[in-house]
Structures are given as structure tokens and as C-alpha cells.
Subunit: 169 residues, 2 copies
């Protein structure tokens, strides 16, 4: 397993689909994972440190786990099969027993960012699907910054805060 | 607390925002709650009994709770404050202790539908925000059916399944 040192996000302009880039620690290699627009919205807000008054869906996962005396430990992205990535959310119970929960990488990455737990990815996946980004290293930050800004943050905030109408959720 | 007997969904054509209608048991009263598009997508798929191969975000909540030896018990929509509804997801631990988790109604309603647990709503909220739907009773089913169909289900499926590209989540 390889540790992920940075999570960034961009848009696949061809399919107009959000992509998460998982950078492998101490390398210039990123693994791209195409994700859904809802999960991308949550990640975009997290990467911009946006704060919400009400618990969002993934907060409810973290809060459930903690209220039941357990804690999120780490995320494993450990399989790639028929063009889909598979992940596990690893939880430690209060008796130190470890629980592995089958999950989508996007949910796991959000939980990792919210709870500050590490993400590990299978070495074979990195070898097979990793992309060397050395050639764009210099402009990388700017590029990523611009990509994140492609998400309409005001629109996203509105979606999650939902404070415009009487009787919002 | 009043029990909810039916959850349906429509679109607020003015604000182009999805609305959940919670029908109070043995009455013609519904309480409307405006929700976000992502949560609406999940609820639309649930109301149409769509099944997915991978666990979606709210499945991960249910799975976390169950793997930790607890079970979702009920949902309480118990407060309305500054134009926002507040809810609690009630969980029963394996030692019978009850845990109340602060949550948004939309997340709770999805968990209720997925886990077949009851929803209760505060009587004052029903009195203040309930709408009598007797006058549309006859065409209600058709109306609701049509509203749900306003959601582009193919688009929604694509979002959640995400099977079109290599490296999907």
C-alpha cells in the first residue's frame, strides 16, 4: 500500500466529469478517479475549507461512528475491477477491534478529509493507473487552483446551506 | 409527535427546487420540506426502487451503524427555526442505550426509506406548516407520479452508477 499525500480535484473537460487526483507520497505520480457531481461538490467545499452550520451527509457518518464509541482509522483503495475503483473505510471499535466497510472511494476520500485520516492505495493500482505529473510540476498549483474554481462555489454553498426559502432542510 | 405514513417528492417550479412531502398518518396533511438536488436525486431513485451495485453514501451510514452493533431506530423531525428544519436520527446501541444524532431531515428521510424505520414529526410543526391536500386527493397519485418523473432518472442513474468511463468511483 502507498500513502496518499495530497488530494486535488479537476474537471475532465471531455466528459464534463469531476476527477479526483490522489498524489502518492514522495512521488510525482497521481491516480485519477472520476467521481459523481454530488461528491465532487462536497470535496470542492472541503478543499476550500467552507464551513456549514448543519451536519452534511458525511458528517453524519463520522458522527455515527464516534457516537458509537468507534473512530475512523484509515481509507484503503484496494481494488480496480471492471473500470471501477473499490475502497474500504477502516474503523477501530472501542475494544480495538478493526472493522472494514465496503465503500466507494469518493465517500472514503470525503471522510478522510473531514476526519484527517490517511488514505492508502494499492501499489498495483498506482503502477497501472498512475500518471507522472513531473512535466506540469511548475504550473501544477495554479492549474489545480483554476480547476477547483471551475466549480461554482456559490451554487454549491446554496445547495448545501439551503437558506433561501422557508422550510429548507 | 405525529407519524409520517408516506414520503413523496415534487418540484417547486418557482425556485426549481425539489420538495419532499411528508404525509401525516391518517390525515390529508402534508408537510413540505425543500431539499438539495443531491439528496433529491437519492430519494427519487429510492422511490423508484432503483438498485445499485456499489454502496451509496447513505448505505455507508446504515452499514457503519450496523457493523458497530447498533441499529437505526427512528427519525424525529423536531424543530423548525430560522426557516430550517432540524431532525434527529435515533440509534439503538447493542446495550439498548439510545443515541440521538443531529442531522438534516433529508439525510434522515433517506436513511428511513433505506432501513424501513418510521419518521415522526413534531405536532407544532404540522400545525404550523402542514398543508391540507384533500382538494387534490383524487389526482394526487398521478400528480406525484408526474412530479417524480420530472427528475431525469437516466441522468441520476449515470451519476450514481458512474460506469461510463475507465476509473470511475
Amino acid at each position: 500500500m502507498k500513502k496518499i499525500s495530497r488530494v486535488t480535484m479537476g474537471m475532465d473537460k471531455v466528459s464534463n466529469t469531476p476527477i479526483i487526483f490522489l498524489q502518492v507520497e514522495n512521488t510525482n505520480t497521481v491516480v485519477p478517479i472520476w467521481i459523481g457531481p454530488c461528491e465532487a461538490g462536497v470535496i470542492a467545499l472541503l478543499l476550500r475549507n467552507e464551513v456549514f452550520e448543519r451536519p452534511l451527509t458525511h458528517d453524519l457518518i463520522g458522527n455515527s461512528i464516534k457516537e458509537l464509541g468507534a473512530k475512523p482509522l484509515e481509507v484503503l483503495i484496494d481494488e480496480f475491477k471492471k473500470d471501477i475503483y473499490y475502497a474500504k473505510l477502516v474503523i477501530e471499535k472501542n475494544d480495538s477491534q478493526i472493522v472494514y466497510l465496503d465503500a466507494r472511494p469518493s465517500d472514503c476520500i470525503i471522510i478522510s478529509l473531514k476526519n484527517n485520516i490517511p488514505i492508502f492505495i494499492d501499489e498495483n493500482i498506482v503502477n497501472e493507473h498512475g500518471i507522472d505529473i513531473s512535466f506540469i510540476e511548475d504550473e501544477n498549483e495554479e492549474h489545480i487552483k483554476k480547476d477547483i474554481e471551475n466549480f461554482d462555489i456559490d451554487e454549491l454553498r446554496k445547495r448545501f446551506e439551503g437558506k433561501n426559502k422557508k422550510g429548507d432542510d
